[in-house]
Homo-oligomer: 224 residues x 2
């Protein structure tokens, strides 16, 4: 599936979070497109036509994307392209937002008063108008405060957000991870290859156990 | 009360709606400030400090303001100014939005799926964070399709939105209108002066009748 990531960030090169995500996106062959202040409307529309899943990725500034994304939307998403030619119809729209504030602040009664779903309504309304399929937004709260392990876990979740059907089931995410592991084993050498092979074997054993448990549960249900 | 209207429109001079509203704003001595792509942050912050009521006025493009307002917000509303110096605290924030789509489209199940209140959440969240008092938004739907009389009525509602406590009571709006009429009589001459004086007299008679009715109702309530 062709995923196009449009990154709206005034200083992409200086953002360690964006650079971290960029490496993750490249590993799953998503198309990483940082927004520049100058762009060609026809070229941008062609890129959108070619994509199946479109991601708008940005840090949240005053509860929406930086101005550069709005400028791009105002100019590229013309009525002709979106409403008459249905240039975005049937495609998926995902939001990857980063924020320095914590997740629990986004609820009624808390510091931010509104949920992230409420704050992202303008983008959801756009998806609706354009005939797009709106994906559950992927929000990274206080990413730079996370431990390295947490960041790696978030990176996997991000890669799955870019590539898997959304919302992804547990089985789909598990299958995705096993596949990625096989790819890593294929390119690894020496001790690293041995370690990765061991992890894959352990994972496969656990998967067999899980499958067995699931089968038992189904039998029990069938007995009722 | 000092009301500052920040108008974000890529072609203000060519917009008949904005020009119409501008004349209304000038009559109530509101400060009309069209946003330019170049601005000085310190000057803009000084204007905001001087205002009691701040209005962001714009046509709705993809469910939010044109990019020029977001660029201004991203640059002028610094953390230092808004969060540390509390530069906007205690002020009122109003939104005047124009759209070519009809009011009934903005509800669940209708064409736009979301209410205008939902779509304007990012601005409301900003008001909340900045310690501002959020006014009920003033939305003009399909203004150019209205009759001349309807447009004049909307202009009065707009002028009241700029100047009266919000939401304004019926008595406040009535008092405002009577005052405006007296101002017009003062500057009119000849037949126009006679006509306006007649209207003012009729309005005063109706107000007396209303006051009498209200008094009667209060008496009846008192008898219970």
């Amino acid at each position: 599936m062709q995923t196009l990531i449009i990154v709206a960030h005034p200083e992409i090169a200086a953002s360690s979070t964006q650079q971290f995500l960029r490496r993750g996106a490249e590993l799953v062959a998503a198309d990483w497109q940082p927004l520049m202040s100058e762009f060609n409307v026809a070229t941008e529309q062609a890129k959108l036509r070619a994509a199946k899943r479109i991601i708008w990725q940005f840090p949240l500034y005053w509860y929406s994307a930086p101005a550069i994304l709005k400028a791009w939307q105002d100019q590229v998403l013309t009525s002709k392209f979106v409403l008459h030619e249905h240039g975005l119809a049937g495609k998926e729209l995902g939001i990857v937002a980063t924020t320095d504030t914590k997740a629990s602040d986004y609820q009624s009664g808390a510091a931010e008063q509104f949920t992230m779903a409420e704050l992202l309504r303008p983008y959801q309304a756009l998806a609706n108008k354009a005939g797009m399929h709106w994906l559950p937004p992927f929000v990274l709260h206080q990413f730079s405060y996370q431990t390295e392990t947490q960041q790696q876990q978030l990176l996997i979740a991000y890669q799955q957000y870019l590539t898997l059907p959304q919302p992804a089931t547990f089985a789909q995410r598990q299958h995705w991870f096993a596949q990625r592991l096989q790819q890593m084993i294929a390119t690894a050498t020496g001790e690293r290859k041995t370690q990765l092979t061991l992890i894959a074997q352990q994972l496969a054993t656990k998967q067999d156990e899980l499958a067995e448990l699931r089968w038992t549960i189904e039998q029990m249900r069938g007995d009722d």
